[in-house]
Symmetry: C2
């Protein structure tokens, strides 16, 4: 079994730096596009056979050191009572956004195993099909990020509605964060019970908060979830996008691994987190448009900086972009495996 | 004359911390909305009498310590040969984006005074109408930020086109940056000659670059512009949004004042820039939705942190949002003036 990724998560010695990529299953792969030409996004997420197939594509094509469940962070919001649609143009749309106490009260706390059976069926199927080739990562959105979608009703530029509720109706906001945290904890724990060998908590929008507000409104919930989920015995990765200004706070999450986006030098990030940290990252997804030799140079630089941490898992600083040439992604994974070998 | 702002720019002793706000003239003001109900955005920018009126509104209503020319960073791109439109929904749209050498070659380097006479007429009119009540700030977009609009054709989420051109056609990208830098230098110098008493260079999108790419593709042009414009004798402010990860590089711009966005603690930002820095910032624009006492608490905190720098100009960490209650903006300015008094 290739357990390099899991060893790195635990800060153990490894033969080489493992690599996987956020959104490694996705639109940049012709094999994924072929699937999507036949079935829409949400149907794909909810069909264990197809979701498993799409999850495995990058394992076969790229040779990455981990598979990550194909799904979407917004899936659990549907069973909390929201109507979720994906528009090609606008991205996710949640009708009837939650902006007050009554809205929060209407949200149901789901029983993940009962309400999202397809997730756990996909995980079980994947463990069988992976047959220990590489470990399987489960995931969830972090509560603040999920809250932004619930409150904004989709993506946002300035997150005015979220921060207005946070600032003007703090009790309702905290109530929402409580409900989301309970949901996320049980969702991730159930994924591990079903077979996920590590889980990642995606905090895509945490970086829009001041460090003070992150510490006050987001971090306590992240800590609670991570403490809870860790009881299941699998490593927990916490990734906050645009994290440079809040790393001092992120140090306190209790996560086994901290993901770092590309806007900060990995060496600087490690200095902030401390040398005992295990880090994941942090190539700019757009660097995959560079010529191969330059991709290699950036890989070497990141690997070299990663050595100052207790452990390093190579990844992008955010998801693979749809326009990315597949051959460059393959070259990236090869470069990490070549230059990340330990002497 | 209230020259507190200019003194602070130069790092000189002041009686109190001066304050102005990015987008202090804008949609959150009913007086501005009344104007806009009669005239579209670009017409307003190009009419000296109306642009001056809108520039003065926040000086009267808020009591800020500086006025900033009402205009848009994209205005100079029109006279470089681009067609510019503002759509209520999508924001700025530039048709025929520049994505190769031929596109860059087609761009003309304008003679600002000849091609944008309304800008300098507005500045002259404003200096007369302000009659030294407060200083007048001119501004321009920084070349990287202007390049993103030219290349993307408007706003973007991932800046794929920009980075693709930067990485795959570096000579054409640098050629574009050269042309933009020449334009920005002469544009800002001409604003100072016409009467602007300080200028701000807005690098709204610099924060999407890795520190390495910022240093390679954006910083050299910023440095060159600032060195050039400084010859006119007015202070230059450089503001890069989402700057936490690139402050080490931003330290090298040569700007008199460095603007800092809200995603980093002001104290941490000053540590990165050094205590000799003069800083501007950095209240989260959304903090203006807080109750007044909490706005005051945040003002006190930022003022206290600002004291560790050689000089501090209070500002938001980005522009005032359209939904902001005017009374809270007034309360903010009052709080800065009250708690920012030097003993």
């Amino acid at each position: 079994m290739n357990d390099t990724f899991l060893k790195a998560c635990r800060g153990e010695a490894v033969d080489y730096t493992p690599v996987w990529l956020m959104r490694q299953a996705g639109r940049y792969l012709p094999e994924y596009q072929a699937m999507r030409s036949q079935v829409d996004f949400l149907t794909l997420c909810k069909n264990p056979k197809l979701a498993a197939e799409v999850t495995l594509q990058p394992v076969d094509i790229l040779g990455v050191d981990a598979a990550i469940l194909f799904s979407d962070i917004l899936i659990p919001l549907e069973v909390m009572g929201m109507r979720l649609e994906f528009s090609e143009k606008e991205g996710p749309v949640l009708s009837d956004p939650v902006r007050n106490k009554a809205g929060v009260e209407r949200l149901e706390i789901p029983d993940p195993e009962e309400d999202l059976p397809f997730i756990f069926d996909t995980i079980k199927l994947l463990r069988k099909e992976l047959a220990n080739r590489v470990p399987l990562i489960g995931f969830s959105g972090a509560p603040f990020t999920l809250a932004t979608y619930l409150i904004e009703g989709g993506s946002s530029k300035s997150f005015v509605h979220t921060k207005r509720m946070m600032f003007q109706n703090s009790p309702a906001f905290h109530y929402l964060m409580e409900k989301l945290s309970t949901t996320v904890s049980s969702y991730l724990s159930a994924q591990i019970k079903a077979g996920a060998q590590a889980v990642q908590l995606f905090d895509t929008w945490a970086g829009v908060l001041t460090p003070f507000d992150y510490a006050k409104y987001a971090l306590p919930y992240v800590k609670r979830i991570i403490a809870e989920v860790k009881k299941e015995g699998a490593p927990v990765i916490y990734f906050a996008n645009d994290c440079a200004g809040i790393l001092k706070e992120i140090k306190k999450t209790g996560a086994d691994v901290t993901g770092i986006d590309w806007r900060i030098d990995l060496g600087d990030g490690i200095k902030k987190l401390g040398k005992k940290a295990v880090v994941q990252g942090n190539l700019d997804p757009c660097a995959l448009f560079l010529p191969h030799e330059q991709i290699e140079d950036r890989v070497k630089d990141i690997l070299w900086k990663g050595e100052s941490a207790r452990g390093h898992i190579f990844n992008l600083g955010h998801g693979v972009l749809p326009q990315t040439p597949v051959e460059n992604v393959i070259a990236l994974v090869e470069a990490v495996h070549t230059y990340g070998r330990k002497p």
